[in-house]
Amino acid sequence: MNQILQIAFDTISLGALYALAALGVGLVFGVMRLVNFAFGDYITWAGYALLLPAIGFGASLGGAGLAVLSVALPVAVAIGLALLTERIAFHPLRRADSSTLLIASFAVSYLLQNLILMTVGGRPQSVDIGGALAGLVVLGGVRLAILDLVTLGVAAALMAALYFVLSHTLIGIQLRAASENFGMARLLGVRANRIIAAAFALSGLLAAFVSLLLVAKTGSLDYRMGMPLVLAAFIGTVVGGLGNIVGAAVGGFLIGAVAMICQHVLPADLRGGRDAFVFAFVVLVLLVRPRGLLTSTKSLERV
């Protein structure tokens, strides 16, 4: 029984992380039909922001100052990077078809990766921000890593905040409208530039928190560390239903959950092929529901 609880907890924790990443990809896809592979590099850059000398100065400020800086800097870097790439690379391509946008995002991603390679180098760097969060608490016989609890808490808080923004603020309502039908939203007075910038900024914010949670867990930085996450997130958004923001969260969560369940349930000699089972699940879902689990009205075909 305890073991089942343990598995359930691990599953929810990884699922929550993937759901955040999928939201980051899904928000931008909604308004721009862009599958943004550079999202993974927002994650990476946010992680590398922890190496900035300002963090070193922060140490002299004491615990609280350091903590604030090590959240604020990655957030600022990721949002800045998201807005910058939108402005330079994706803005001029807004009218291009989605395969061109996709390849452009590969190119941006490749560029960002190699900029890190050129400046910091390719060797993995170690960063310790999870020190305070290491350790376990025992709750009713289940051992829970504090970090996993924090992951869950942060994910829940971010999703609640995002929900509030999307449902109660003007920009959020416009964002959802633009995701449903961009052309119609524009006709009704939604400003395209503002709404796309907002989507990218939110995407950057999510990337920063995904990065912090990931680095706290692994304790190391790698110039391609965002890649597996962005792949999972991308697949999650498709499984959830492209263009549907709730669907993205659900899809991302499912991918993480299925991966974790396979990890625990598969016999040891099949565990290496875990991804095969995850992707088999994806293919099955798409075969049954080609438009994803939660479908937005826009993707229905009309004659």
């Binding site: 690379a89 395969s99 452009a104 490749y110 050129m118 697949i235 991804d275 994803g292």
Partner: protein, 354 residues
Amino acid sequence: MSRSPNKAGLRSAVASPILLILGLVILSGVAYAAGGNLPATVTELLVYVVLVVGLQIFIGNSGIVSFGHIVFGLVAAYASTWQTCCSGLKSFYMPGLPAFLLDNSIPVLPAALLAGLVAVLFALVIGVPLMRLSGIASGIALFGVLAMVKAVYETWDGWTAGTSSIIGLPRYVDLPVALGAASAAIVIAFLFRNSRYGLMLRAAREDEVAARAAGIPVVRLRILAHLVSAFVIGIGGVLYVHYIGTISVDVFWLDMTFLTLAMLVVGGLRSVTGAVVGVVLVRLVTELLRLLEDGVGIGGHVLVFPPGSQQAALAIVLLVILLFRPEGLYGSRELTWPIGRPRAGSGKSEETSP
């Protein structure tokens, strides 16, 4: 959907492949005459032509951007390895192979064709269910297939040596072999594109609902394009591993997927010419940048760029091309005779961009 193409169409149908192949022959001739590293570089380029033209057959005609078609290269390359690899070391690398494969080495040409057929068979098995999907769901499902096959091959030690490489494949791919294969791929791509099946599939790409209403069996045509594409990509994969002489599952993973897709999009995914031009252009840029990375002498100082700058520069070049030519360099046009064109436009393009 006329069965007898008009004169301009016929002109392009015959002229384009001839001109493209001629271009590649000249490129190979120059490389052969120049010697040095060039023949090897151009051989690799020609292998990429096979892979990217193979991708174009599916993506260009069906309009589905697949992230998974490199899987057919993977499947066929291992199928060829099982047949031709390193006779003495075969039982060391792949002890799980059945006896008839362990004890026999099959000559490389039939082995390559058989490997291509294995890829087609695999494509048929996954294509029948998956080709019902459209758009991005299809692209993702195909990527799922690639990831699944990768995971399976990496755990299937007895047949594939798991995650480690198999070294010592016969390296029979030289300039003439690669040139022949690239030319054949181009001819196959044009034959399919200009056949009534290709025409119908391209019509469905532009407007699926209208095409279905006109009685076009979209799913069956997609499967057909998928099979032809799987064969060509399979051969491309076989040539690639027999060019570098080693094989591992990693070869056919994200890097190759992205590189081949980038080549296709830069050239223009709706045209075979675009596929070929994209390969040549991206390779050219990479080679130039590689020269730069070795160091440039400026006023007595040698400027050495840090590692990664070559890739960063390639990314910038790709972006700039996309920013100025979002449809790719060739869009949906094909190469035609430079002279004697009836009127500007009428012989060049039979499709309009959406």
